[in-house]
């Protein structure tokens, strides 16, 4: 197990390196325009562009450029071209909000999806299953920003059942924090519930047909025990990986749309604003940052997974 963890961590670091290279390539190599011009944003003078070119080393060789860029990212020297604020600081400032959104939503979607998926699988082919299937598919067919905007306006403003967007620090008022996050959690979770319950349903149906479930039944175990101890646990294993990816993505600011619609001002919304301004450094940083989160979460999940599924450790 120890060796497995060490190996996994080394792998994680390598992937992070590759991720940073790819991000660098996206912003500095793919585009068909002078990166300095793009980087300089609005109303840039020749001298500003020249200064940026100098600062980012756009005249240097690619590896040198990469090193320059990474130096900026790592030392926190990366500044928004638009506000001159440190991108790192802004991300750190947004993290509590993003984490609040991500953790609550992830718990919510996991819990509901497990209930839905399991119920759907148990009732496979029956009305309840078909109903839940359609509900789930509607869930994954709705653009988050659309349902979010509607919910925010109608439930938040018109009916006043929920706060009209915004965020309250947990330390300030935990109840208000919770109250402000109910809608965002729900909206973000809707899509995942739809998707996860479908995946879980099919996993459960696969698992139910496994020989060892038949063995469990032949042992005289109750249906509930079979479902929980044998079916659910085994069906959950592939979902944990998926969950790691998605949770990592949301933690890393992937919930751009939800954060924006509900004005949570987390990392995602920070990115969204940077996109609107074509402010390259924040987008670059968040892209890298969110991928790092996924890679990290992936490694954590793999280690967890090895714990859950002893077969993995040997491979």
């Amino acid at each position: 197990m120890g060796r497995f963890i060490v190996r996994r961590v080394i792998q994680m670091v390598l992937v992070m390196f590759a991720v940073s290279v790819l991000t660098f390539l996206i912003f500095n190599v793919i585009p068909n325009s002078d990166p300095a011009v793009r980087m300089s944003g609005r109303q840039a003078s020749e001298s500003t562009i020249e200064a940026i070119r100098e600062e980012w080393g756009f005249n240097d060789s690619l590896p040198q450029q990469y090193i320059t860029t990474m130096e900026k990212v790592i030392t926190g020297d990366l500044k928004s071209q638009f506000t001159q604020l440190s991108v790192g600081k802004e991300i750190v400032k947004g993290l509590p909000r993003t984490f609040s959104l991500a953790i609550g939503a992830a718990l919510l979607w996991m819990f509901v999806a497990i209930c839905f998926g399991l119920y759907s699988a148990v009732k496979a082919g029956k009305f309840a299953d078909r109903f839940l299937t359609i509900i789930a598919l509607i869930g994954i067919s709705m653009p988050v920003f659309w349902i979010g905007a509607l919910a925010n306006y109608y439930l938040g403003f018109k009916l006043g059942w929920f706060p009209n967007g915004g965020y309250v620090e947990f330390t300030e008022d935990p109840i208000d924090w919770f109250y402000h996050l109910i809608l965002p959690w729900t909206v973000l979770a809707i899509l995942f519930i739809g998707f996860y319950s479908r995946v879980l349903r099919s996993n459960v149906l696969d698992t139910i047909n496994e020989d060892y479930v038949r063995t469990a039944r032949a042992k005289g175990l109750g249906e509930r025990q079979i479902m929980i101890r044998h079916v659910l646990r085994n069906s959950m294993i592939p979902i944990v990986t998926l969950w790691g990816l998605d949770f990592g993505a949301v933690l890393g600011g992937g919930a751009i749309l939800t954060e924006t619609v509900f004005d949570l001002q987390g990392v995602g919304q920070y990115t969204a604003e940077a996109i609107g301004q074509l402010d390259v450094p924040p987008v670059l940083a968040v892209t890298m940052f969110s991928a790092f989160f996924i890679v990290l979460l992936n490694a954590v999940v793999d280690i967890l997974y090895a714990y859950l599924d002893p077969r993995i450790r040997l491979q």
């Binding site: 190996r7 080394i10 792998q11 390598l14 590759a18």
Partner: protein, 372 residues
């Protein structure tokens, strides 16, 4: 029990009218177990086939027998040049094909074909029977029009309706599918057919049909078979000679009937003893010797004789020295320090066979027996 004597046959290419069709010399096939992050490196090797030497003569059937994981399937694939061998050489009709590429193999493919184990996996479910059987013909130059009559003829030969040419594999039962597989192998009129467990996935009643079919076809087309199986009782019905493998090594090579009546290697004997006889009385009469333990991991084969951890006759020498293949009368080879069913005289006359693994020692059973 009298055996219809197979002519004593010298194994190392004694002058005969025909040269051996396939010659395998000190063949090794190792699989690397790769591990690593981004860049993979080999951390261990599976010794699937570990220094095996034998040959198959024109027109004969060599049965290759062993339990799962013994390397028999790997060996058959290596002979077909479907996997690369790690060491050793491979000759087909005298031509060295050890490292032959696709181009060099192309003309030889006509002469060597294969029938696979799983009648469901060996036929492409998305292709019609005609396309499946016609493919080797097309690959070797026949045009589209020319193929169909040939396919029909082949279907007829293997006992299927020629009208079935446009059906898909899923419309056939397992036995029928295996016939299609045989038809495909026959299409180019090969000399050698490697049969990889051709009947083990079939029901008993159908097994017999396919074995009979193979028998008929061999007579009809003067085919050479390399028949790979785990089931000694099935191999017996088709083979002229039988080679027994264990953990990547040849344990015993013997004329077919002699193997059943006079197994020399304790492993062969254990295999035979383990097979339940479908005859209650005979069964009750029989004293069964059950070998304990399980085959070890081919990543780390045991020292000396690979069978020694499970062998009831194992002694110190078995742990230390790998026995060479020793030649006994009737072209019977066995790699054992403590052979069964051989007289002292035969032991005295026994000689180390050149096909012994390179790593095998020189001591012959007689000498070591005394030592033990």
């Amino acid at each position: 029990m009298s055996v219809e004597a197979t002519e004593p046959r010298a194994d190392d290419g004694a002058p005969g009218d025909a040269a051996p069709l396939v010659e395998v010399e000190h063949l090794k096939v190792f699989f690397g177990i790769k591990q690593g992050i981004l860049v993979e490196r080999e951390v261990a090797r599976v010794h699937a086939v570990n220094d095996v030497t034998f040959s198959v003569d024109e027109g004969e059937t060599l049965g290759l027998v062993g339990e799962s994981g013994c390397g028999k399937t790997t060996l058959s694939r290596a002979i077909m040049r479907l996997i690369d061998s790690t060491e050793g050489s491979l000759r087909f009709r005298g031509e060295d094909v050890t490292k032959a590429g696709r181009r060099q193999m192309q003309p030889l493919r006509r002469e060597m074909q294969m029938v696979f184990q799983d009648p469901f996996a060996s036929l492409n479910p998305r292709k019609r029977v005609g396309q499946i059987i016609g493919m080797p013909l097309r690959l070797h130059g026949s045009d589209r029009q020319g193929v169909e009559p040939q396919v029909r003829e082949l279907l007829d030969k293997v006992g299927l309706h020629p009208e079935h040419v446009n059906r898909y594999p899923h419309e056939f039962s397992g036995g029928q599918r295996q016939r299609i597989g045989v038809a495909r192998a026959l299409a180019l009129e090969p000399r050698l057919i490697v049969l990889d467990e051709p009947v083990s996935a079939l029901d008993v009643s159908v097994q017999a049909q396919i074995i009979n079919l193979l028998d008929d076809l061999q007579d009809q087309f003067k085919l050479t078979y390399l028949f790979v199986a785990h089931d000694l009782s099935v191999v017996r019905h088709v083979s002229d000679r039988i080679a027994v493998m264990y953990l990547g090594k040849l344990m015993e090579v013997s004329p077919a009937e002699e193997l059943y009546t006079k197994p020399i290697h304790p492993y062969t004997s254990a295999l035979l003893a383990a097979i339940p006889i479908p005859d209650p009385r005979e069964n009750r009469r029989r004293e069964r010797l059950v070998v304990s333990g399980e085959p070890p991991n081919p990543i780390n084969p045991p020292s000396g004789c690979v069978f020694h951890p499970r062998c009831p006759r194992a002694t110190q020498v078995c742990r230390e020295e790998e026995p060479p293949l020793v030649r006994y009368p009737n072209g019977h080879l066995a790699a054992c320090h403590h052979p069964l069913n051989v007289s002292d005289a035969e032991i005295r006359d026994a000689a180390r066979d050149p096909s012994s693994p390179v790593s095998a020692g020189d001591s012959l059973p007689g000498t070591t027996a005394d030592a033990a």
